[in-house]
Every structure is written in C-alpha cells, then in structure tokens.
C-alpha cells in the first residue's frame, strides 16, 4: 500500500530511569512550509512499553541490554530490513556509566549502518526533546517563544525554540532518580554523585537504608524546583555556586526574547504533570522508586514554572524517543554529487570546519590539512543559502587546486555539506566534471547545525539521511 518514497525510522532512548523504542513510517517529501526534504505523514508502527533501563551494581547490565535490544529489533521486524534512518541515544545517568560504550557498540553492530548511536550528548537530547514535544506547537504559534523542560530521571534538558527552530539548549543534573528508594517508601537505596552532594549541601544526614523525612523530601525537590526556576528566569548565578556548578552540564543561555516564553514539559516528570492536569490521580508515593511524583507536584506548585501562556505540547512524555525517531536526521536534496553510492554509509565523520562559500583559498587549505589526519573521512560544512555561480566556481577552483596540489589519500572521503540546493553543480566543478581522482561527495539542502560529527546513511530515491551529533 506504500510508495517507494515511504521509509522506516527507528528511535532508541536509554535514559536514567527507563528505556524505550519507537518505529515509525514516513514519506520522504518536500515540506510545504520550508520547501526542504523531510519526513511527511509519520505513522507509528511500533512503540515499546517503557522498561527500566537495566543497571547492575557496576554499570549497565550488558546481557539484559543485549536481550532488550534484540527483542525490540525483532518486535519491529527490523532483523531483515534495517530502517532508513534514526538514532539511539544514551542519556542522563545511563550515559555516565563506565561501560556505556558497550551499549553503543551493541547498537552499531546490529544496525549501525543505518542508525546513529551516541551517548552523553546533552545538547542533542535537549534539541530532540524540543522537536519531539514542541516542533509542531512552536510553528502553530509563530512569534511565541517556548521553553521546553525535558525532565527525566537524571537530567533536565531545557531547550528554547521559536517558530519551530531551537535557539538555545542546556543540560542540568536535575531529575527524579538522583535518589533511589524502595517503591512505596522514602527508604533510601542509593544516590548519584549529585544526589549525595545535594544531601550534604542541604545538611540532610541520610544513608542507604535510612528513611527520608517528608521535610527532607520537600527540601530536595524544593532545591530542584529552584534550579528549574533559575533556568527559566535566566539566573546564571544560581549555577555559579559550587553545588550549582555540579548540577550543570551544558549551560542554558537564553537570548533576548520578544515576550515571556510559554513553558512546556516532557520526560517522565512531564508525563506525570500532564497526566495529572488531564484528571489522572497522582500515583502512590514513590511508586517508581524515585522522587518523580514529588518533583512533578512541586513544579505545579511553582508560580514561576506555571506562568506564561498555557500551551499543550505534542507528546507530553517521551519526547526524546519521538524526537530521535522523527527529527534526528535531515534529509538531503535529491540532486547530490555522489559518483559512487557504495562509499555510504559514512559513520562518525568529524565536521572539521564550517566555512562560507566565499572562503579564501587559505582557509580552505587549512581545513583540508585537518581532513588529511582523518583517514575515515571528514566533513566540511559550507554556509550560504543562495550562492552565485561566480562564488561556486571560485570555491570549486580553490578546492580542486588544493586537492591537485596535495591530494587526500586514495579512497578517503571528503564530504561537503551544503545548505543551498547546488550540490551536483559544486561537485562537478570541484571534481572537474568527475575527472579529479578523489572520493568527493557533496550533500545539499542540509540546514547548518553546530555539531561535531555527522552520520550519512545509504541513499533512498537519490536522497540520503544526515544525522548530527555532538551538538555544541
């Protein structure tokens, strides 16, 4: 029933508390507003029930993770036909585990050619949560800034967006699971580094096995709500203290805004907030073995966090996995310069420079010098939405001359990432219409993103997926 333009997309989210998978199907097509290629008419094919992220006493529980991953792939029907694109993200406290690299290797070994897998990428997580929860909402309310607080077990990932674009991201160790309890009680079973530090900072003497008093719980969540209020109000001083610094992984730098932002929530705590607002009763005390319920209640009691326009976001809960599935990659234009598609996929390609198409030959030569030290390949991000023919020819001439003078090693890919729809023309000029013996690819119609790495998947209908990670 589907055309060849339909593709499958997979998102895997391994968080501090829970992990989940989402498989969607979408059609590759031009977006009617942006004009850019993207995914249209998404349809969820499979949504896993959230499961507790498998930890053992010493880190991530590898055998259980392997079983979990294989089970998802089987349930998604992806064992024989991998997805077109997607991403796996290990976040929060899961990303802090010593053996986190094992998890990304497990994913890469199974579907790494098609899926970007990365851990501890807080900017990306915030960006994805915003897009998953508020992308559509933000476009529906042009001119209204929206600050999304994605509050999970280990981190809160704020992202501010306007008109569907993310303007600022942050990441803070504010979350429900910094203290773990026996479910149904406040009997402490363990805590994170930040959790321990906050107990000490607040003068709460409590060890594993002790029962936390109601007052202590209020002080802990009270501090976290103050931290969230500091984020919303742009109070950088709050995080300048020793205890504040310990809770800040990526500062949120709010720009000047035309009006107060609307605040939305996502993540496990966000899910609790919206469920309550829609009439569901609160779950029993520490039903999830953490302070998520207490934190949700405290957030709702905060005048500051409840201020501003009341907008109801899309997912209200698992926004990251939604974002991972549908927003983790950009789709290129269909007229690429791709002389040999067999070079794809290209994984973990570093973005070595971001240059305007009017860059000097010296700037370009410097960037190419960096590329020479990247045997797996490198990427140059070229800025400029509508270059002239003269600029294209000039840039191509600089590039061709530099590569003729000092060629890259045979087979070493050099990817040019372009915002403008001129990839084939730039590629032809730069390669002297295919006569320059270099592994050059030009991928166009990719909006610029401040990131450190990209992943380029295999082509489908002359288009390729490009995922960014290591967001700056």
């Amino acid at each position: 029933m589907l055309s060849a333009r339909h593709v499958r997309l997979l998102g895997l989210d391994f968080g501090s508390t829970t992990s989940s998978a989402l498989l969607a199907e979408a059609r590759l097509g031009g977006h009617s507003v942006s004009g850019r290629m993207g995914f249209a008419e998404p349809r969820v094919l499979y949504r896993s029930p959230p499961v507790f992220t498998p930890f053992n006493g010493d880190g991530l529980d590898e055998p259980r993770l392997t079983a979990l991953l294989d089970g998802w792939l089987r349930d998604c029907g992806l064992e024989d036909e991998p997805p077109f694109a997607g991403a796996a993200l290990v976040t929060g406290l899961a990303a802090q585990q010593r053996n986190v690299a094992t998890l990304t290797r497990l994913i890469e070994a199974r579907i790494g050619d098609n899926l970007m897998a990365t851990a501890d990428d807080p900017g990306l997580e915030s960006w994805l949560a915003f897009m998953g929860n508020c992308g559509l909402l933000s476009r529906a309310h042009p001119g209204q800034p929206i600050l999304n607080l994605d509050i999970g077990g280990g981190t809160s990932n704020p992202a501010l967006g306007l008109d569907g674009n993310v303007l600022a991201c942050g990441c803070h160790f504010i979350g429900a699971r910094h203290w773990r309890f026996a479910p149904g009680s406040y009997r402490l079973q363990g805590c994170s580094e930040q959790g321990q530090a906050l107990l000490e900072h607040l003068g709460i003497a409590c060890r594993a096995g002790d029962e936390l008093s109601t007052g202590d719980v209020e002080r802990l969540v009270g501090w976290q709500v103050s931290a969230l209020e500091a984020l919303v109000s742009g109070d950088a001083a709050f995080f300048a203290t020793p205890i504040g610094r310990l809770h800040e992984q990526l500062p949120l730098r709010l720009p000047e805004l035309p009006c107060a932002p609307a605040i939305t929530f996502s993540g496990g705590v966000g899910e609790l907030i919206y469920a309550y607002l829609e009439g569901a009763p609160w779950p029993a005390t520490s039903a999830f073995g953490d302070l998520g319920i207490d934190l949700a209640q405290a957030i709702l009691a905060s005048p500051l966090l409840g201020a501003g326009p009341h907008l109801l976001p899309q997912t209200r809960g698992r926004a990251t996995v939604q974002g991972l599935t549908l927003h983790s990659c950009e789709v290129s234009g269909s007229s690429l310069y791709l002389p040999d598609a067999r070079v794809l996929p290209l994984r973990d390609l570093p973005i070595i420079a971001r240059l305007p198409l009017t860059a000097s030959s010296a700037s370009l030569a410097s960037a190419l010098d960096l590329a020479r030290y990247r045997p797996q390949g490198a990427c140059l991000q070229l800025l400029g939405a509508s270059p002239s023919l003269a600029a294209l020819r000039q840039f191509a001439e600089y590039l061709r001359a530099a590569l003729q003078q000092r060629p890259l090693p045979a087979g070493q890919p050099l990817v040019l990432l372009l915002e403008a729809n001129v990839g084939k023309t730039l590629g032809h000029y730069a390669s002297d219409w295919g006569r320059l013996p270099q592994c050059l690819l030009v991928v166009d119609e990719i909006p610029p993103r401040a990131a450190q790495f990209i992943h380029i998947g295999r082509p489908h209908q002359q288009m390729v997926p490009v995922s960014f990670f290591g967001l700056e």
Partner: protein, 736 residues
Amino acid sequence: MRALTPLEQIVLPSPQPPQTYSSEMLQRRFSFHGLKQLLGAADISKAGERMAGLAAADEVEREAARAILSGLSLQHLHDHPLTNAHGQIDSVMRVNYQIDRAVFAEIAALSLGELKDRLLASKGAEIRRIGTALTGVMAAALAKLCDVHELILLAKRLKSGAAARARTQVGLPGTLSSRLQPNHPTDNLAGISLLVYTGLSMGAGDALIGLNPAIDTVDNISATLHHLDKLRRETGAPTQVCVLSHIKTQLACLERGAPVEIMFQSLAGTERTLTDEFDVTVELLDHAYARMAADGPLGDSAEHVMYFETGQGSELTYGKHEGIDMATCEALCYGLARRYSPFMVNNVTGFIGPETHLDNFEMIYSCLQDHFMGKLLGLPMGMAPCFTLHSQVSAEGQQMATELLAAAGANFFMDVYLGNDRMLAYFDTSGHDDQTLREVHDLRPAPEYLQWALTRGIFSEDENAQLQRGPNWGKPEQFCHSELDYQRLLESVPAAYGFTNAGPRPANRVARTLRGNQAVARQAIYADLRPDELGFAANGLPAPRYLTTRAQNREAHLGNPELGAQLSADAQATLVAEHTDVQVVISDGLSAEAVHHNMSDLLPVLFDGLASRALNLGQSIIAPYGRVKLAEAIGEAVQTRLVIMLIGERPGGDALASRSLSAYLAYRLETASQAEAAGFSGNPQIAWEYTVISNIYRAGLPPLEAGSVIAEKALQILAHGAAGNRLEHLLKQRAA
C-alpha cells in the same frame, strides 16, 4: 440498477453518403457538404471549430446554416448518422441510437425548428420524455438553434426529475450541490484531509468527495480511497467518495475490496478518442457497470453509481473528432453516458485551453449548451466552468458562467479550494463560489447532507426557516482532534493563501494574494521572449541563432499547438545537416518569464558540463512560440544526436511557479538503438526517446543546479545511446 440493453439489439440506420445542404440568404448562396459541416457552421464561432475548419465564416453564414438545420426533420438526422473516416458507425454513435423508439415515432416527422418550439411550450416532464427519443446529434442540433435565454429556460425546466441518488440525492429542485475536489500535488493524505475538512466546513461535498490522484497506481488509489472513506465515516458527512483514476485501476481496487463507491471515467464522443486516448471501450464500461451493480459498496442501496466527466474539445485536441464539431461530440458523450444511468456527469469545458475555447464568451456559451444537452438527454448534469491561464478566459468570466448555470439549475459545481487546483494547474469553482451561488439563488445542499450540516452548526435556520451559514461555517478545525492536529494538516498544503472568510467569500487579503499570483502567472504567458536577457553575452557564450516556427504570433501559438511544433518554411530552408552531438534549443513555450529567470544561471553550467567532454555542439537556437515537439523538427533538420529543448512550462496559479522551466532531452534514435527502443517501448515506429527534467525554478530545482543535472543526464544519454525509461533501466542494470 437497471440491466443494460445488449449492444447488438440497438437498431441502427445504414450510413449514407454526405449530402450537400444549400440555401440562400440576402442574395448570398451557402452550401454545406454533409451534416458535419452544417452542424459546425450552425454553432457560434469557437477556437476549436475555427482550427478544424468547421466554423462559419461570418454571422450570415451561421444563420444560413441554422436555417437549414431548422428545416431538417428528426427522421433525417436519424437516417444520416455521422460516421468515422471509414464511413462506419462507431461504438459511441451506436450507443447514441439506444433511444425510446415509441416516442421517436411520435416526433420523427417534426423539423428541428418545430421541435424547439414544441419544447419551449412544454413542461419539464414532457421535455424529458421527448429527450429519451433523441440521439446526441439531435440534441446538439437543437442546442445550436437556441439562444442563451432558451438554453437556460429549457434546462431549468428539466431540473425537476434530474436528480440522482447514491447515498445522497443530488439535483432536486431548490438544491445546489458540489463535488469536493481535495487534490494535492503529491497525494499527501494530511493535505487531502485538510482540504476535505475545509470543504465540508463550507457545506461542500454533498454530491461527492472526489480526488484526482497524482499517482495512478492500484496501491495509491486503494490507499486514497480508504482514507477518503475514513474521513467520511469520522466526520459523519452523508456523501460518497471517489478517486478519479482510470476505470481499470478502479476495477482492480474494487477487486481488492477498496471502497469504490462511485466508478469514474472520462468519456469521449468518438470511439477513436475513447479507445486510443482514454483506453476505454463500451464493453469495458458495460463490464464496470455490471461489476459495480454486483460488488460496489453502494450496489444494494444506491440507484446510481457511475460518474462521468466530459468537456467540449477533447476529441478535437487529439485530432480524432472525425470531422465532427465540439458541441456535437460532447452530446455524443452524453448519449453514451445515458446508457449507464450515472449518478453524476460533470462537464469541464474550458479545461483544455485556448485551442478549444479562446475567451469568456466561447466558454460560457459552450457551458450553457452542454448543460442543456446533458439535461435534455436525461443526465444529472453538474458543471465545472473552468480555465487555464493561457486562454483568455478570466475569473470574472468563469463567475458569470456559474451565475448563469445556477440559474439554469445545474445539479452541482466543483469545490476546489480557492478555485486554484495546484495539482492540475487550472482554475475551477470553489466552496466559496458554491455557497455564494446558494445565497444568491436561494438554494440548499442535498437534504441528507443538510440535516447533518445543521447538526454540526455549519448551517442554521432562522425563525423564518431561512437557511443561514451557521457558527461553524468555514471552520475546518472543527473536525480536528486538537489545535496541533490542525497545525499538522496546515503544514501539508503547499502555499495555501489563507483560510479566513468574509461572509461566504474569502477574506479580501486572501483574494488579493490569490488574484495577484494569478495575474503574475498569466503575465508570464504574454511576455515576449527577450533574447538579451538569456545571458549568452554576459557569460561569454557563443551567440545563438534565431529560428521561427509556423506560429507567427502569440495568438496562433496559443490557439494551435501544432504550429509551434513545426519550423517555418524560412527556418527550414536555413538548416542543413550538421551531424552534431548536441543541439541546445530555447523557446518561451508557455512562459517567457521562465526562460528569462533561469537561463543566465543555467546555460553557463550546462555548457561547462558539455564542454568537459569532446562533444560536437551545434550553435544554440532560440525559437520563439515553440512547443516541445519542435525538438524533433530541428533535430531531424540538423541531424543531431541529442536535442536539449529548454522551454517555459504552462503556469499554474502561483507567481513563482510561473517561472518554471523544463528541459526535454530528445534523443534521436539511430538504427541500432531504434531496434532496442522499439523492443523496450513496444512501439515499432519509435524515432525519439525523451528524458524530462522539470520544475526548474528558484523554489524547485534551482537553475544553477539544473545546469549540471541536465549536463550529467545528456552525457549519460550519449554514452548509453538511450533516453527516458530505457536509459534509467540500463543505469539500474549497470548499478546492480
């Protein structure tokens, strides 16, 4: 649903040799050789008849023809069937003779003039009864004798009894229905949903929700049918759904269990057009009708399940009209449609362009003729007076047509959002127009639909039981689950100009944007090609040469597409065999602005690409007033291997898209490649293969990028000795 009369049981006259009809008027003698010429001359002068040589030279000749026609008896018309080129009665004409013989016996001796007078003095039921005894040719002949008042008056009397029933009953007196046409350029289901919601919120779609698909595959049509059915069920709107794909595709969808509630097909008035161009036979139509009666989802409950579209001029533009004028061909379609007791017949006169209907007068008059002829032959006629920007028909003319047709009692109009169909690049009536006409002419939707719309608040009734727009009229979001659902749908409709209304009309801001875009797009057609702006000199490219086509001016170019496909005699004389590899040809086609806006970026890249290989290039050619097939005329003359024809596309309603250029890469098949191409295509005569690169403009494929896309494709064509699907097949084989 009634059983069909077997085709072999239809009583036919024997074909007769053409007779010459003569008369004298004001001391001028007029002769018409054969009934076809007489019928052609008796009509108003229309572009299509002028091109076919059928139009009267002047008003006096026309009246002379009408006078002769008035004196011919119905028996004479019956006994002189219009035959095909072999002197035979074709299958469409055969079906037209399926008439009520008893009624015919009553009226056979009447002259056409007498019949007209009798009809004008009759009531609706009697007119309808007489209509059952008429063939399409008789109805057309009668229409040519009627003036505007008579066409409207007679049709109006036929409104009572012109209704047809599927899930709703459409065409009752006092009603005006609409077919909601939620076309989307990519069949995007979200976009389709929004357009359906918008139409329903305006009280449209009570006749049908009917989509013209962009992709005519069984998979896509089935999926789209299921989607429309889902929307119908979810909204609860009492109506029926249809996807207007080819009848064979719909039959395959029906086989799969898709909800083919109404079976659609375009009809033609000659067998050659019907079979060669529409790939349909009367036998296939009979089969589809029988299948719908047996297996159609509404087969048990509906009285009518077929939907036909027609429009004056299709037979003529395909060159398969058998010498018959457009109005008569149209009436022959109705004679064919009548066999299947359709639920709807929709007339889209104006869709083709200036080669059939040049201006408002020609389009309006033809619409009135068609509506009258269809109703007279007993059909539930709906009307879609429409236009393309390369004709001289305007929005005002189209609106005048709708007012007259509403007065004449048309069963339904179309609802294309804001009248601008981006998928088919033409302009039709809108939901705003339909509601305005209801308010002007005091008409209501179909009764079943009206009850639903009243409960939804789309309509309300005041204390005097007068129907009003209700509080939810024009609010598509009422059908969405949430604000975000509505936003998601909004993002799926390209360049929608807005959804705000002023009473039953679009808000002025919306109207100004719409009309502004239309004006810019139309201007592109009428702009002269300015060779100095193409960038040859500025980019250091060799100066081009200039050739003329047989279209000596724009009027001829727009009015007769054939002329632009051929070189003028002078141009032909200047060309000799050059035996080049590539010949670039530039023509304005239907948008000189497309050429102006793209060429200076495109050409240098294209020539750089071609120069990268040792190719023998011909001196570029600029040929104003050209059509795509001009590539072949030039290619044969200069004996080049590949013609790259850069030509402006027919503008739709979007200002930017009016700058859209296409590149037709026409590969001239040599002996060896011809055999392979013939085998691949199944056409033993194939002489050219084409690869098309379209949508070249700033917001589509930008000209800077298009230059290298075209160059790369040209090099592939020359390297593989193939173009079009065969080239892509070879490239795929190679990649595998």
